[in-house]
Amino acid sequence: MDFSPIIENLPLYFKGLWLTIELLVLSIIFGFVLALPVALAAVCNIGWLRGLAKGFIYVWRGTPLIIQMFMIYHGMAQFDFVRDSFLWAFFREAYWCALFAFALNTAAYTAEMLRGAIEQTSRGEIEAGKAAGMSTFTLYSRIILPSAFRRAIPAYGNEVIFMLHGTALAGVITLIDLFGAAKIVNSKHFIPFESFIAAGMFYLVLTFAVVWLFKKLEGHWLKHLKH
């Protein structure tokens, strides 16, 4: 085993690490912002809106992330009307295509998680809110959502870790994230074991950071559940 090419290429790995973090943070932010209205739509009592939200969740959870990414990156480029429109400035870039796929994917999973948490809010809390004369808006913003967010935290931590590992797919469409960097080092020095285990180490550290962050979040927001 020869780790000297890894040391030599550490700057490349760090560049990749940075892109991985950037893709993760942005897709989690965009994904969450999108997931909230989708989750609310999925529990509302307007039939078509509920159907639309559930359809979105079903489609994006029901297909592999790599297919979604290829549909967006390679698929969109196939159509002249996309290439000739203002949309092309967006879909031309591998970066935005990847981010778009990641954000929509994590939005679907997050929305489903929130939907479950919202529906499981205890009836007593809701009835108490109603008895106090709360409007639906107040009921959601004061009682249901804060409670649902708290209960969703542990599961959401998992989703963030899955998304972190999902970002490795960016390396497949010319982006140089951690996996992309590992592939360059491997193909240049022909040392797959060393190249990929180095990337794996970085992912382990990142996963650890996410786990730690969620532990802190749980400690803060789920304090009342601690024994």
């Binding site: 010319t174 240049k188 022909f190």
Partner: protein, 258 residues
């Protein structure tokens, strides 16, 4: 434990058979790429075809060996050779100093220069300054990748796992230029419907410092006897007309070069 003994015996027999086979090269496994037309591609029926494929079979016939072709992605093509998934690589692999550190090469069996290609609508010229900030598509870990990385530092390089993927993004309009083997690009892209709006630009490149001495067959360093066998087979098909027959099926010029 009759079964156990039987199993062990059978296992040993297989190992002996395999190692006996490897020693006399009556059976040779050859790694090919399968995504590099017209040299190597996989038909819709799943069959391998192309110049490299025909050459591989012709060489095996000349050596009197039974051949098995193993398709392998370019990225992992040398590691898989070292891992003994096959015994030789016939994949238009240029003979370079970098690769010689890991594998042995036969003499060249083909040689063609590298070129840039651009969309017909583009008026880009090939100088170090004018390429600053331009997006150039290449296949990862090829001589073209090395050349652009070293000589055109201002270029935004997009590296693809296969040449086919680079063509896909070229048609989509995601790259300003492609750099690749001129023959591969001519037949695999420019002459196809997909590449109808693209054309060559700039000179032909063959500086041995970057582009090597032509394409050779890569073999594990310890298998010097197999290198000799392949060298003899290359000389054989060059002299008996088999090479020319295959060459003329695909190309108008002699791929062997001078």
């Amino acid at each position: 434990m009759k079964f156990y003994r039987l199993f062990t015996t059978a296992f040993l027999a297989v190992i002996l058979a395999v190692s006996a086979q490897a020693a006399d090269w009556s059976k040779v496994r050859i790694g090919v790429e399968g995504a590099y037309p017209p040299f190597s591609e996989i038909t819709p029926e799943g069959e391998l075809k192309g110049f490299d494929i025909d050459i591989a079979y012709a060489l095996c016939e000349s050596m009197g060996a039974e051949c098995e072709l193993v398709p392998q992605d370019w990225d992992g093509i040398i590691p898989a050779l070292l891992a003994k998934k096959y015994d030789a690589i016939i994949a238009q692999m240029s003979i370079t100093e970098e690769r010689k550190e890991k594998v042995a090469f036969t003499g060249k069996y083909a040689n063609s220069p590298a070129k840039f290609a651009k969309p017909k609508s583009s008026d880009v010229e090939i100088t170090a300054e004018s390429l600053d900030g331009k997006v150039v598509g290449v296949q990862r870990a090829t001589i073209f990748d090395n050349y652009i990385t070293a000589e055109f530092p201002g270029v935004e390089l997009k590296r693809y796992a296969s040449q086919d993927e680079a063509y896909l993004d070229a048609t989509a309009g995601r790259v300003d230029l492609l750099m690749a083997d001129s023959v591969a690009m001519q037949d695999g892209f420019l002459n196809t419907e997909q590449g109808a709006d693209w054309e060559f630009v700039g000179p032909a490149y063959s500086d041995p410092k970057y582009f090597g001495e032509g394409a050779g067959i890569a073999i594990r360093k310890e298998d010097t006897d197999l290198v000799e066998k392949f060298n003899a087979a290359i000389a054989d098909i060059r002299s008996n007309g088999v090479y020319k027959e295959i060459n003329d099926k695909y190309f108008a010029v002699d791929m062997y070069g001078e």
